[in-house]
Amino acid sequence: MSWYRASDWGWWTRRKLADLGHAARLMVRLVGMLGVSLRRWRLVVDQVHFLGNHSLAIIAVSGLFVGFVLGLQGYYTLQRYGSSSALGLLVALSLVRELGPVVSALLFAGRAGTSLTAEIGLMKAGEQLSAMDLMAVDPVQRILAPRFWAGVLAMPVLAAVFSAVGIMGAWVVGVVMIGVDAGSFWGQMQSGVDVWKDVGNGVLKSLVFGITVTFVALYQGHEAQPTPEGVSRATTQTVVVASLAVLGLDFVLTALMFSL
């Protein structure tokens, strides 16, 4: 492609549009396979184990350290205004509303999304997907759909674990180490955090991120060039596209929830 030729631009735009349409069609197919996946629950359970349980360690440890840092940084800022007792509220709101869903989605894209892309890309390179097609087994239904629904299921769980562990981390730093009053730490948090507005929106966000990240990973794997370079490029693309999509969607979702 050369940038000075108008016909190349047209070709490029048309190809991107076709990609988008193809992705949308795959998305609709995957969503429509909820019933089928539920009927073959075992496949989904195995994938939840692979995507969720194996991501638990990195999510919990990251959550703990993010909580530590939030406790320290929040205290540093708040004590300038003499309101370090609001530390619990600050930490809980920033984790539940924002950091929990976003950071765990980014970690999920790196930890689970890449393995999904590589696995499916290699299956495609090894012509396993075409073999299934030949045996009249729909690879989208047998391979992609269980992974999709498992990812959608695992993501909110991981985000909730991240937030909960983060709050406990901030408690360790704020209350145990720095000496913020435990009563005001929890009390301010409880009076300031709303179950539906804050916790509910956080869960909703993580659900959307779960759909986004898992879908991007599956799509990249499914559309990868069936060569070693193709699979490696697809894996990189998964992290780049999924991270950007999560951050962009995060802004849109936050703006939407703000106006409600």
Binding site: V48, N53, V96, A154, V157, S163, A164, W186, D194
Partner: protein, 160 residues
């Protein structure tokens, strides 16, 4: 065999997630005391509500007895109409008075109820008559400055 082992771990994983959500809901958002208790609505008119917001606390003797349900403007009396939901287990005399107070110097504003002495109690739909507006800092400062200027002038004119 492999399958059933996975099942246990996935079950644990989901349980952990449920526990985390429960922790967030109960420990950080305090779902239990977010009162599904029955309440009755009482309204009042204020000349100025300052920075009072929806969901602000209604306190009596420092104890939260209700929440501000809605705030709107009454364009016949040019006053703010505040509707509050008070918990049913607390009753107040009909002539109780409401005051908009601030917790701390720059804190949240809330409504304080001071109990009156009437024998009848407030019931749902009642309007509290005696209200005191929020203290607006700007008014306070300008009043102070005005008083200061006035007294300064008096002192000057008092001298021969």
């Amino acid at each position: 065999m492999q399958r059933s082992k996975n099942d246990v771990w996935v079950g644990l994983f989901v349980m952990l997630g449920a526990a985390a959500v429960l922790f967030l809901a109960l420990q950080s958002a305090n779902l239990l005391s977010a009162s599904f208790q029955s309440s009755y609505k009482v309204s009042a008119k204020f000349d100025n509500i300052g920075g009072l917001k929806k969901q602000a606390a209604v306190k009596s003797a420092g104890v939260v007895v209700g929440r501000v349900e809605s705030i709107d403007f009454d364009d016949t009396a040019y006053q703010a109409r505040v509707t509050m939901a008070l918990e049913s287990r607390y009753v107040f005399p009909k002539d109780s008075s409401l005051k908009i107070l601030t917790s701390g110097l720059l804190g949240e504003q809330y409504i304080g109820i001071e109990a009156g002495s009437d024998e009848k109690n407030l019931a749902a739909g009642d309007t509290v008559q005696s209200t005191q507006s929020a203290v607006v800092l700007e008014n306070l400062i300008s009043k102070f400055l005005y008083d200061k200027a006035a007294s300064g002038k008096d002192a000057e004119s008092g001298k021969p």
